[in-house]
Symmetry: C2
Subunit: 344 residues, 2 copies
């Protein structure tokens, strides 16, 4: 991990692509109100008092993950003919449930493409929400989804590289700023998982708009560190799925950030940090024991970054970690909880 203060340094300017704006996030907030939950911003009395930590608990959303925000905003934005055609999405799990949930809510037919290797519980949950599920090999997922979209005329809801999805996820930043102000503190540094980059892209727009001087950090597994590689090299970089599929964090296995999220990352995100697999497991355990939250590995990486880099984080600042999801298979989760404490 590079020191947060060194961050932005020699990053090239955005190319002029239009980024999602703050007004779109405000509109999204109105669209998702009453469907997505305004999740709590929980103080962590167990964290380092010199580096106070709050958790934005997106695991408490109705589908157990933040993805409901972007999916609902995207589906709610569709015109009547698009609604008639139905929607299609590709996802290793949480976006699948999110689109299924949003489609059901608006009475729209949903077809979901899920790569083999995705968590079993997420596949079952998607089907339980009434969506039709098609399973494909991970390396063919984009291609198959495009083919099915063309064949059926369905509207593709991309998991991250879509302005409506980014705007929906950005409502998390809006809420963090509002809730921190209500609770009497300033969110100086916000950490959030990055995979395709939709969450951190929208979050950064809202946080930078509302909290002057605040930093936004993406966090990803060392084993799927394409976003960090992209930022460090200045070029959007893809990792082969054989590599990204190694991490226990099944929600964070995207090969690369998107074209649009990349522009947000390089323009607005201060740095991308990485965490080891043992650090992820430790964070899952700590969140169960101390925060009483069931968190999936991918949902725990921001807390893992806080815990495993604690002494490199500047003291005297207020940290917020987005806990992005909690959809676990109980047996796999129990194995993490009762596993040996790991060196992070």
């Amino acid at each position: 991990m590079s020191h947060p203060a060194d961050a932005v340094a020699d990053r090239s300017d955005p190319t002029g692509t239009r980024l999602v704006g703050f007004a779109e996030i405000q509109d999204a907030a109105k669209r998702i109100a009453g469907i997505a939950t305004r999740t709590p911003l929980l103080p962590c009395s167990w964290a380092d008092p010199d580096r106070p930590l709050w958790i934005k608990a997106e695991s408490l959303q109705p589908i157990g993950a933040f993805k409901i925000r972007g999916a609902v905003n995207a589906v709610a934005s569709l015109d009547p003919s698009a609604r008639e055609a139905g929607v299609i999405a590709v996802s290793s799990g949480n976006h699948a449930q999110a689109v299924a949930y949003a489609a059901k809510r608006f009475g729209i037919d949903a077809l979901i493409v899920i790569p083999h290797g995705a968590a079993v519980n997420k596949v079952a949950a998607t089907q339980a929400l009434g969506a039709t599920v098609v399973r494909v090999p991970p390396e063919l997922r984009e291609q198959e989804t495009r083919r099915l979209a063309e064949e059926t005329g369905r509207i593709l809801i991309h998991p991250f590289d879509d302005p409506r999805v980014i705007a929906g996820q950005g409502t998390i930043g809006l809420e963090i700023a509002e809730q921190a102000a209500q609770q009497g503190f300033s969110a100086d540094a916000v950490l959030a998982p990055v995979s395709g980059g939709g969450l951190v892209s929208g979050l950064a727009v809202a946080v930078k708009e509302l909290i002057p001087g605040a930093s936004v950090f993406g966090v990803e597994p060392e084993l799927a560190a394409d976003a960090q590689a992209s930022l460090r090299s200045g070029e959007r970089t893809a990792w082969p799925v054989e590599d990204t599929w190694r991490t226990i964090a099944d929600a964070l296995r995207a090969s690369s950030v998107g074209a649009l999220t990349w522009e947000h990352l390089r323009a607005l995100v201060d740095d991308v940090l990485t965490v080891s697999e043992p650090a992820i497991r430790n964070a899952v355990r700590e969140l169960a024991a101390s925060a009483q939250l069931v968190v999936e590995p991918g949902g725990a990486v921001a807390v893992a970054a806080y815990l495993s880099n604690l002494h490199q984080l500047p003291p005297g600042r207020n940290y917020v970690a987005v806990v992005s999801g909690g959809n676990v298979d109980l047996d796999a989760y129990a194995a993490i909880l009762s596993g040996p404490p790991a060196e992070a």
Copy 2:
């Protein structure tokens, strides 16, 4: 379980003891603001659509349990000489942490009596909050606590039979009524764990004041069903600790409700339901898999009552279950999660 509609029927009137009033709960709400968390009232999309369920997630309090409310209200009410003398409390766990937390917050010395057999993690957490801990055999806990209080001149913070504690716990009912109104529904039936009865006593005062026609049900393990026995017989009944100590719900092993909470129960609580041990384990699992909440067995009984009596609950009403705590030992918790699905 008797049918909710049959409830109050032939219960004798209260004896004229002064019950905690709604104004005391409003005062408590002001005292605990900014220390206790205004926990979320979470919609459960996985529950029966004909019997919609919301969870009041008190497991998300800083100490992982609702007890912080009563303890903070009691400690904040002490005069300067009492603060100087310090406080003492007896508890199998969550009240211990609550008093330790409140005392630390107000700079007061705390001595906590914890019976043998209490969950190891709760003892450690109490010590970590700076309190001195004394361990005693369960059957001697009241006696030893009285002796130590007299010896040291400390003020006893009773876990439930104290108007300030009851008023503090009552703020849960206040928040449920407010949050339900904000979310656009009426909380028709509220279920909450009962052990000593402090939670359900305060809750019932606020709910009955704010939600006309709402019912309040206490829930306890079949293996520690002294409150139900009391309500059914019309006389406050104690169960031997050898009996109440059998349940996995270590937070619900009080031998009887208190003198003051008994008056609240008979005056305001519609009925006390009981749940089996397998039903408790099932609820712990369901709360992890579907609500992403780490809940201790005692904290899960209200949800257990909802799930295991589902078809006896009148449809078309809105149910709220108080999830009262989530302080688990990770190994014991993992064993529940990976245990065989049980017949509830």
